[in-house]
Symmetry: C2
Subunit: 157 residues, 2 copies
DNA sequence: CATTAAGTTCAATTTGTTTTGAACTTAATA
DNA sequence: TATTAAGTTCAAAACAAATTGAACTTAATG
């Protein structure tokens, strides 16, 4: 694996960390993105990432579980191969964005816990409304993507 | 401080963790949200959260730095007091959502690193377009909030 | 059915992060 | 100017998360 690709793999690790996932998860996914092979074996991943079997085992498991990669098996070959799933982008986002409703609830709850009304109460009310609204808007945005993605991609590229 | 409020403070800690900030940062902010006082002293915070001076010092500093709280001082009183800032909600969100453009770049870069074109290349292209588009849409969404917040709040509450 | 290749599991270790606490700074008061 | 209250700093301790590696499982092959 050349240096540029290894650097890229690290960059993916950091990106996934931003998403709240483990760095190693991002590395494995990043490698599968740029590997130029239809599927990659467990041991290839282990070697490229210089990690232990245990680490690769738990990481690939997690990636399969969240639907980012899938396993491939071949007759007459005991190895397991992995490839990235054709992940539905809208779903990928909405899974990560579902905390807005939760935020709205927490902020609302805060307002109810207060024993007096003040500027902060007002802010809590507005903030709860805001995050609830944001959650809805993002859902709509994802619908829009579904309907218009062909046009958006054509326009953008 | 009653049990319900302490539980709430913990809940805020976890919420902030989701945002990639430290749990203690969320705790202090949560306390200031529900404290029923115009401003709270350094030592009050320390006591309610059962934490060390060092911990409160670095946490309040961080919260001031990111603009979530502000200090209040009074003549004839050497103490520092803290209160939540009237944070502009749109700004609060856009600061957290600026990673979409970064994502788009990383995905695009991945496509360029590949030595062949395949289904994954296509996905990388689409994903890069998607995240770039999402970044723009969120900016628009925030503009919409600015223009219509009064109506949105009225409708929602 | 014994052997071996391929992964999994999990206790122990390594690595990274958070928190403490004691020494230090700063500035207000006596 | 000495004292003291209020915070800050940062090295060490506590805690938490990620990683290893060796023993274990599983299933394919000779």
């Amino acid at each position: 694996m050349n240096k540029k690709k290894l650097t890229y793999i690290e960059e993916c690790g950091l990106m996934f960390e931003q998403l709240g996932l483990a760095r190693m998860v991002g590395r494995v996914f990043g490698y599968l993105l740029i590997c130029d092979e239809d599927a990659v074996s467990f041991d290839q991943i282990r070697e490229v990432l210089s990690a232990s079997k245990g680490s690769i085992s738990s990481t690939t498991k997690q990636l399969v579980q969240i639907g980012f990669i899938e396993t491939v098996s071949l007759p007459g070959d005991r190895k397991t191969y992995f490839k990235v799933t054709d992940i539905e982008l809208g779903k990928m986002l909405s899974q990560r964005m579902n905390f807005f409703e939760k935020f709205a609830e927490v902020l609302s709850k805060g307002r109810n816990l207060k024993n007096r009304e003040d500027e902060v109460s007002d802010w809590l009310r507005d903030a709860a409304v805001f995050y609830s609204w944001v959650g809805e808007e993002i859902e709509q945005m994802i619908q829009k993507w579904h309907h218009e993605k062909e046009n958006i991609i054509k326009q953008k590229e």
